[in-house]
C-alpha cells in the first residue's frame, strides 16, 4: 500500500503539478507536499504525490557500501548515516 516509485521530474507545470518520467512513461504528479525540487531531480511518488526528494549522492554511497559489504564487512556500513 505504501509503495512509491522514484521518478525524474521532466518539467514543472501550472500550480503544484509536474510531469515526471518513470521508466519511459510520462505522468503528471503533484508537488504540493515537497519543496525546492525542479527538473532533473528524482522524487519518490506515491498515489500521484511526490513525498520526498531522492538524494543521488546518498544513493551512490548506499550502493558503494553494499558493494563493499561483500568484500570487507568491517568497512561496509561506513557510507550509511547513523
Amino acid at each position: 500500500m505504501c509503495l512509491a516509485v522514484p521518478c525524474r521530474i521532466v518539467r514543472l507545470e501550472a500550480g503544484d503539478t509536474a510531469v515526471v518520467d518513470v521508466g519511459g512513461v510520462r505522468k503528471a504528479v503533484s508537488l504540493a507536499l515537497v519543496e525546492g525540487v525542479g527538473p532533473g531531480d528524482y522524487v519518490i511518488v506515491h498515489v500521484g504525490y511526490a513525498l520526498a526528494r531522492l538524494d543521488p549522492a546518498a544513493a551512490a554511497a548506499t550502493l558503494q557500501a553494499m558493494a563493499d559489504a561483500g568484500i570487507d564487512p568491517a568497512a561496509a556500513l561506513e557510507g550509511v548515516a547513523a
Binding site: 505504501c2 506515491h46 500521484g48 538524494d55
Partner: protein, 405 residues
C-alpha cells in the same frame, strides 16, 4: 528504472548475504520484525529469506493498511455505496477485502453500486466536481505515507466549498502499532515471540522521519533500522541489525538516507496536523482495539467528514473463528499454521486479512513461498515422515537445526 534496478542487483545481494552469514553469530538466534507490508512483499518476492543464515528469521509485522482494516469499516463503505447511493471512490487495494455476509466492495459494484477505483485522492475530488448532482465519498485508508494526500483534498474541498464530497477516514499510525506489539504479553514476558529488532518502514519514514522511532529504541531496548523497499536495502538493513545485536546497541539507524531524514517532511506533517486529530481508539484487524492509533478528521472539516455527514456508527464484526491472522500479525504463528491457509483461504477467495493484499503475510507466502513447504516435506527423513503433518515449513526445520548447531 533508475534507483530501482540497481538496488535489485544479484551479485551485490550475494555479497551482502555473505557478509550477514559472516557476522551472524551461529551460537545465537536473530528474530527481526519487518513492520511494513512493502518489506514483507519484497522479502517474499525476491527470495530474501533464502539468502539468510538459518538462525536469522524475519517476522512479518502488521504494517499493511489493507490487512489491518477491520471488517466493520468496510461495511460502512459498502452501506454508503448501496443504501445511500453515493459514488464510493477507493484505492484498488480495498476492493477485495472480505466484509460481512460474504460482501466486498467489488461484489457491491457487481450488484450495481457505484464503486470507483481511483489512483489518487485527487481523482476522487475530480469525480465530485464532475458529478455535482451526486454525493461522492472517498474511502481513505493508509499509514502516514497516504495521509498527506487525503489532507490536501480535504483542504481543497473546503477552500472550494465542494458540498458533495466527503472522506471516510481510516488513516492509521505506525508508532502506535509498534508499541502494541512491544507491549503484547507474548513479547513482553520473554515468551513465544522474541524480537531482536525492527526493520522500519521506508515511505512512512519519508513523512515522519526517523525521530519517532528513537522512543522504541530507548524505552524497549530494540534496535530499529529504517530501510528502503528494494531487496538490497532489506539485506543491508538486516546486516546493520545483526551488527547492532552483536554489539548490544539499540540505536535508530537510517539505511534509506537517500530519501529519509531525521525530521521527515515538515510540510506534509503540518498539513496532516491541520486537518486531522488523534482518535482515542481504533480497531485493527488482528490486533484488536489500539489506543491513539488512528486519525479522525478535525471538527473544522466536519462538513467533509463522511462519518459526521451520514451519522455513521461503527459496528465491530468478528473474523472467521478458524482464521489465524491475529496470531500471524504478531509473529506468533506462520501462515502454514492456519487450517484455512491454501485451502478455504487463497488470494482468489480470501477469508482473512493477511490473504487480501499481496503485502499480507499469507498472500506473500502463498504466491512466493509454498515451494519451500513442498521441499521441506520432501526432505523430511523417512522415519520422521510417518509422524509429520503434511508439510513442515523449511524455516521451522532450519530453525531447529540452527538451535542444535
Amino acid at each position: 528504472m533508475k534507483y530501482v534496478d540497481e538496488f535489485r542487483d544479484g551479485a551485490l545481494a550475494q555479497g551482502l548475504a555473505q557478509a550477514i552469514a559472516r557476522e551472524a553469530d551461529p551460537a545465537r538466534r536473530y528474530d527481526f520484525m519487518e513492520f511494513c507490508g512493502g518489506h514483507t512483499h519484497a522479502i517474499s518476492r525476491h527470495g530474501v529469506t533464502d539468502l539468510l543464515p538459518p538462525n536469522v528469521r524475519m517476522i512479518h509485522g502488521p504494517g499493511c493498511p489493507v490487512c489491518v482494516l477491520p471488517i466493520g469499516r468496510v461495511d460502512l463503505a459498502i452501506d454508503l455505496a448501496i443504501d445511500r447511493g453515493v459514488i464510493l471512490c477507493t484505492y484498488g487495494d480495498t476492493l477485495r477485502i472480505p466484509a460481512s455476509n460474504g460482501r466486498s466492495l467489488l461484489r457491491a459494484k457487481a450488484d450495481g453500486a457505484d464503486v470507483r477505483m481511483v489512483y489518487s485522492a485527487a481523482d476522487a475530488l475530480r469525480i465530485a466536481r464532475e458529478n455535482p448532482s451526486r454525493e461522492v465519498v472517498f474511502f481513505a485508508i493508509g499509514f502516514e505515507t497516504t495521509t498527506p494526500p487525503t489532507a490536501l483534498v480535504l483542504k481543497e474541498a473546503r477552500e472550494s466549498n465542494l458540498g458533495n464530497f466527503s472522506v471516510l477516514c481510516n488513516h492509521v499510525l505506525t508508532p502506535a502499532a509498534i508499541v502494541t506489539i512491544l507491549e503484547s504479553p507474548e513479547v513482553r514476558s520473554l515468551g513465544t515471540v522474541p524480537l531482536d529488532g525492527f526493520v522500519g518502514p521506508s515511505h512512512v519514514s519519508t513523512i515522519i522521519g526517523t525521530e519517532p522511532y528513537e522512543f522504541f529504541a530507548r524505552e524497549y531496548r530494540k534496535p530499529v533500522v529504517i530501510a528502503g523497499f528494494e531487496p538490497l536495502d532489506v539485506l543491508q538493513a538486516i546486516l546493520m541489525l545483526v551488527r547492532q545485536a552483536n554489539e548490544g546497541r539499540t540505536d535508530v539507524e537510517n539505511q534509506f538516507h537517500r530519501a529519509v531524514s531525521r525530521e521527515g517532511n515538515a510540510k506534509a506533517q503540518a498539513l496532516v496536523a491541520e486537518t486531522f486529530e488523534l482518535r482515542r481508539a481504533f480497531e485493527w484487524r488482528g490486533l484488536g482495539t489500539v489506543p491513539y492509533s488512528a486519525l479522525a478528521i478535525r471538527p473544522e472539516f466536519a462538513a467533509w467528514d463522511a462519518e459526521r455527514k451520514y451519522a455513521l456508527t461503527y459496528r465491530a464484526v468478528p473474523d472467521n473463528k478458524a482464521c489465524e491472522c491475529g496470531a500471524i500479525l504478531r509473529g506468533l504463528k506462520r501462515p502454514t499454521d492456519c487450517r484455512l491457509f491454501g485451502t478455504a483461504c487463497t488470494p482468489e477467495t480470501p477469508m482473512g486479512s493477511c490473504m487480501v493484499s499481496s503485502e499480507g503475510a499469507c498472500a506473500a507466502h502463498y504466491s512466493y513461498g509454498r515451494f519451500r513447504d513442498r521441499e521441506a516435506a520432501a526432505t523430511v527423513p523417512a522415519e520422521a515422515a510417518g509422524t509429520a503433518e503434511v508439510a513442515v515449513p523449511v524455516t521451522a526445520v532450519r530453525g531447529r537445526t540452527g538451535v542444535a548447531a
